[in-house]
């Protein structure tokens, strides 16, 4: 499933990033790598962006970017 479809509070594992160039590199630079566990922590009051925990810190990204991250639920 896509990261944008995951419910708040769930823990997932990244399978792949389905985009190229700047967005992919930026996500990877921030620690969103294949096989990385991620917790979906919060959704902004207006429904976008989302707040995730990756590599033990908080990262926010728009659903538009989260759609490009393929994940599987692990908890």
């Amino acid at each position: 499933m896509k990261l944008s479809e995951v419910k708040v509070g769930q823990k997932v594992k990244v399978l792949s990033i389905k985009t190229k160039g700047i967005i992919k590199r930026r996500l990877m630079d921030m620690g969103v790598l294949d096989g990385e566990p991620i917790i979906i922590e919060k959704v902004a009051p207006l429904g976008d962006p989302i707040d995730i925990v990756v590599k033990n810190y908080h990262l926010s990204l728009r659903k538009h970017e989260a759609e490009k991250i393929e994940v599987e639920v692990i908890q």
């Binding site: 990033i17 190229k20 160039g21 700047i22 967005i23 992919k24 590199r25 930026r26 996500l27 990877m28 630079d29 921030m30 620690g31 790598l33 294949d34 919060k42 959704v43 902004a44 009051p45 207006l46 429904g47 976008d48 962006p49 707040d51 590599k55 033990n56 810190y57 908080h58 990262l59 926010s60 990204l61 728009r62 970017e65």
Partner: protein, 713 residues
């Protein structure tokens, strides 16, 4: 005397600027990187007998070719080849910070890691084995707590040590795995003989970039991606890996960062819910997140404008009262001619006043911005507002500078510094002018009192809303024309909440003020004198015959289709460029000249006493304004002279009066705005903004007036 060049690099939110302030606080010089509005801080100081030239690089997470900040950082590191890199690392977020460190090591330059925010890491129960880290990476590691200046001396000693024996501190050549190393060997062999390349670039770094397919580098050195040796170097990857090589290298670097972190970091206790997450449960809550944000904004606004306005008024009164008076006395004692007295008091002193009057306002706004940014709330504000702002094509963080624009557009320009990209900064600054600042209010009040007493509130609101609509439209136009470009993704760290140090607040506020005084102040001062000449030459003639009156006459036909093509209104608009409230005083002078009343001149000792009493009551008023009233105090204006309003009723119709107000709302806010914009973004941006905000108001007022006429108003 030996000199070394030191670059300071590190992730955003790693406390880098706090550390730099602690190292070189008083020696810091703030400029910009050439051609962009990214801050460049430099400092020169001594450690015993060693001279250090320090350069602060933009805070970055990586050294990719994709963002302006990263390109600036890597270009400096590669081309200027500093002797040492100080890499500021957030100890509470070791792995992601070490990923950046790994990239720095590729350059082959000695590195000192400042393990910053060490106190917080200890509180979390982290233990970091610095010796093991030094061994693994071949670098120096110094724990620091920049907020308390701990570890700063040790850091300086480490710089001295490296300067004395640079060869001893060559960083470790990290092994990127057999496949990559073999490919690198092929590339290195192929470019070894190209002296012009090996002189400019560290060879391993360049080989890595060629393997990654870094487009910027290919362009720089004129290589093509299909060079024969590159094909050879990449061949076995392309056979076995689906993934692009750039992503693979990112994973390898993160792998090393992860491995080092595993080896050097011990966590004592389990993950406790920390204070940041507890605050965020409230601040980012679905239901009260937005009300909290709005409350914070309201406080920022009140502090920025209501708190600063008594001080601005005090400075204003000081300049136009005692200082002007003393200058007059002094000049008269020297038997100076009348025109010289006028030039000095109304030109020179008033010009200085025009600059100084902004000091409290900009100072307080910068203080607040540093507070929001340094505490970590700014990122939350962007998180909460992003959806709304994104829908009109802006970044979440644009909200704050734009809202400040309702008070004054000048601090908005400085507030755009919180945005990450040059494009976002420019875009936000360029759509500020239609946000109606408080200086335009006296003009609205004057005309509403004369023409729209029955529905004044509606007229006033309509202007504010029209301004916001025009700003949004302008934003869309700019984005598709002169500020074209891909929209940067919103991938933003939400850093832990931290309490900014007073030292940082002081230094940052002072730096911005200095920037304003030097870069904008000189122009504002000069143009005040130019305006004095326009208004007062030939000396002693009536307003109509002055140069300004003549220019007003010459230009006035342009305003004919808008319903106010007379020299009086035109002259008022021209002087309104100094500041919008001047429109009112110019009109008063032209339409209804008051006979000068002879006032009792106060004695010298009375004036001195009044200055002090005035300052004390300004302090009282400032606090009173912030904590007592619910409205925005600085928006209250005085009653206008009825005589002028009667006169206006004979010159304007309600429709042309409204068209005039629309023009006042939309044309260039003031000289201070113009020169601050220039100081921040350069002449070109100022030129574009000038053109936009002369054509746009004309078109809008034209539609209002001609449309109104067709509708029979």
């Amino acid at each position: 005397m030996k000199t070394i060049k030191v670059a300071v690099a590190g992730n955003p939110n790693s406390g880098k600027s706090t550390l730099i302030n602690a190292i070189a606080g008083t020696h810091l010089y703030v400029g910009n990187w050439p051609g962009v509005t990214v801050e460049k801080k430099t400092a020169t100081f001594k450690i015993d007998d060693l001279e250090v030239n320090l350069v602060d690089l933009p805070g970055t997470y990586s050294l990719s070719p994709y963002t302006q900040e990263e390109v600036i950082a890597r270009d400096f590191l590669v081309k200027e080849r500093p002797d040492v890199i100080v890499d500021v690392v957030d100890s509470t977020n070791l792995e992601r910070n070490l990923y950046f460190t790994v990239q720095l090591l590729e350059l082959g330059i000695p590195v000192v890691v400042a393990l910053n925010i060490y106190d917080e890491a200890k509180k979390k129960g982290y233990e970091i084995n610095t010796n093991a880290m030094e061994q693994l990476l071949g670098i120096k590691v110094v724990p620091t707590v920049a907020t308390k200046k701990e570890g700063v001396n040790e850091l300086l000693q480490a710089l001295k040590e490296i300067a004395a024996a640079p060869d001893k501190f060559k960083p470790a050549k990290l092994n990127y795995g057999e496949e990559v190393e073999n490919s690198l060997k092929i590339i290195e062999e192929a470019i070894q003989s190209r002296k012009e390349l090996t002189d400019t670039y560290p060879i391993r770094w360049l080989s890595l970039k060629l393997l990654e397919g870094d487009e910027r580098i290919f362009k720089e050195i004129g290589f093509r991606a299909d060079e024969e040796f590159l094909q050879r170097a990449k061949s076995h990857f392309l056979e076995f890996h689906e993934q692009d090589i750039e992503s693979m290298l990112t994973e390898i670097r993160y792998g090393i960062a992860h491995g080092v972190t595993e080896k050097v970091l011990k966590k004592k206790n389990g993950r406790r819910v920390d204070i940041t997450e507890r605050i965020d449960k409230v601040v980012l809550n679905r239901y009260i997140g937005i009300p909290i944000f709005l409350a914070v904004m309201w406080f920022v606004f009140k502090f920025a404008f209501d708190f600063s306005s008594p001080f601005c008024d005090w400075i204003d009164g000081l300049i136009s009262g005692p200082i002007t008076h003393w200058a007059k006395l002094g000049l008269n004692a020297l038997n100076s001619p009348e025109w010289l007295v006028s030039l000095v008091t109304e030109g020179v002193i008033a010009g200085v006043g025009a600059v100084l009057v902004f000091v409290p306002l900009i100072g307080i706004v910068m203080f607040l911005m540093t507070l929001l940014e340094g505490s970590g709330y700014m990122a939350r504000a962007a998180f909460v507002m992003d959806k709304l702002m994104h829908s009109i094509g802006l970044h979440g963080k644009s909200f704050i500078p734009l809202i400040l624009g309702f008070g004054c557009n000048v601090p908005s320009i400085y507030a755009t510094r919180v945005l990450e990209t040059q494009r976002d900064r420019k875009l936000t600054a360029m759509i500020c002018p239609p946000f109606s600042c408080s200086a335009r209010l006296p003009v609205y009040v004057l005309f509403i009192g004369a023409f729209f007493t029955a529905n004044g509130a509606t007229v006033l609101w309509s202007l504010y809303i029209l301004g916001v609509v025009i700003a949004i439209v302008t934003g869309f136009l700019l984005k598709n024309t002169i500020l074209k470009g891909p929209i940067p993704p919103f991938i933003m760290e939400l850093p832990p909440y931290r309490i900014p140090t007073l030292r940082d607040l002081k230094i940052h506020t002072w730096q911005k003020l200095r920037h304003f005084l030097i870069k904008a102040g000189t122009f504002i001062f000069a143009s005040s004198i130019v305006f004095w000449f326009l208004l007062n030459t030939p000396y002693g003639v009536e307003k109509e015959k002055s140069y300004l009156g003549k220019i007003g006459k010459a230009v006035s036909p342009v305003f004919e289709p808008l319903g106010f093509g007379n020299w009086q209104a035109t002259s008022a608009l021209i002087t309104g460029v100094i500041a919008k409230e001047v429109v009112v005083s110019t009109m008063a002078q032209i339409y209804a000249p008051e006979s000068e009343e002879k006032k009792e001149e106060p004695t010298f000792s009375e004036e001195i006493r009044d200055i002090f009493i005035g300052f004390i009551s300004a302090v009282e008023d400032a606090f009173y304004n912030v904590f007592s009233s619910f409205g925005i105090k600085s928006w209250e204006t005085e009653e206008q002279p009825g005589k002028l309003q009667e006169k206006l009723q004979t010159v304007f119709s309600p429709l042309s009066a409204y068209a005039f107000l629309v023009f006042v709302l939309l044309y260039l806010p003031c000289l201070t705005f113009a020169f601050t914009l220039r100081a921040e973004f350069g002449w070109k941006t100022l030129g574009q903004t000038l053109v936009i905000y002369l054509i746009l108001p004309w078109i809008t007022a034209f539609i209002v007036y001609q449309g109104g006429k067709l509708l029979g108003f």
